[in-house]
Symmetry: C2
Subunit: 230 residues, 2 copies
Amino acid sequence: MVQRVSGAEASSRAAKTALFDEFARLGQALANGRRLEILDVLANGERTVERLASETGISVANASQHLQVLREVGLVRRRREGTSICYALHDPQVFDLWRNLRSVAVQRRAEVGQLADAYLGARHTLEPVGRAELLRRLKHGDDVLVLDVRPSEEYAAGHLPRAVSIPLAELRRRLRELPRDKEVVAYCRGPYCAFADKAVRVLHQAGFRVRRLVDGLPEWRAAGLPVVSG
Amino acid sequence: MVQRVSGAEASSRAAKTALFDEFARLGQALANGRRLEILDVLANGERTVERLASETGISVANASQHLQVLREVGLVRRRREGTSICYALHDPQVFDLWRNLRSVAVQRRAEVGQLADAYLGARHTLEPVGRAELLRRLKHGDDVLVLDVRPSEEYAAGHLPRAVSIPLAELRRRLRELPRDKEVVAYCRGPYCAFADKAVRVLHQAGFRVRRLVDGLPEWRAAGLPVVSG
DNA sequence: CAAATCCTCAATTGAGCACTTAAATAGTAC
DNA sequence: GTACTATTTAAGTGCTCAATTGAGGATTTG
């Protein structure tokens, strides 16, 4: 059956199509795993193209192209920093969108849970520490050491109150800096970052009492909890 | 330069790639304007494939294909209703995701605002009524008539307290049902639905005091405000 | 000004998507 | 059980996208 529509209706439909296609461009920008990895890293602070490329395992040219896509739809912005160009999330709402996407994916698609386990290792052997619990223990007691295992630039860009920075790569040779009479709570970039899980495994093996924070710094910040920089 | 990675790192990277590709599948589902139109309509209540197709101007076969995509990633679910099949958003979080996407698109992309104006007509001539204001006036006074101009099925599926239903198509011939001593506040499916704007134009021309609600029923419900059904 | 360093662009390749038409399926209603 | 109808699937076409490679810009630093 052929649709008969008036001229006005047809032009209105064309306008609606154009509008929703424009919304869809944002979806397109979110429709690539590499771009989502980039967003996830950028949620922890700005990066040069080269660093982003090396951290994500993407080639520089390809990373640059993905960043153009993200920039065109307004998800990231850039600024020059000496000889390099730093990209950053355009604003906190972008992180909310990524988190929302993640959350729906986890709730609605069993495959995601399986792949997360495959990537992070079965991490549900030890219950993670919730944000509220950690905040309470930080305020009212001194029985916990908060450990930031991200690269030190990210720590500098913002970290949990009283957190100690030991990047994952240095953890094994700096074990003596950690107390054995407190519980260690490790955190990293978020629930889909492997750093904290790896740190927990290392510390557990070395005999420490240790758990991971339920997610990472970006989520802590997004929850409106205090973040210290510098 | 060729990347050298250890076997363990390589497999971990593969797992991470797979995980983020899985997230990206959700993005892919959101990467098409027609599918976003479908989600926007479904936020107002379930629909058969045929109705969805006719309301969006998509062919039935094509609508069915889009619905398969949405269903595979868990954004919609379906159930049989007599001889037809009804599709609905899988849960309220899906609407949150769509709203979040919309919101970032509007804030970050000037093109979206222009296209919205092109579709809806310059609607900023009259300030829309906020949800809080409407709620207050509904509770404490009797100076406002709330008008639902969506199709009557959607009104039946859920509407604002004390709202009167006059579908847009019937509005011109039912003008006498509306009071002239109150302000009329019209609402529809959301900020990117043209119904309320068209109703405002019709009523304004007929001499009514009328404004539109800032957005639609789904946003009202998502804000946790009271919704009446039946 | 020139060299060095980063980043972006352009061209290419192969893969995947949207939409149409036409045929098949799966329920319901009688 | 049969006919009917709404929905789904299949096949085909034109288009868009991701990634690679190599060349070309832009900006700082010497």
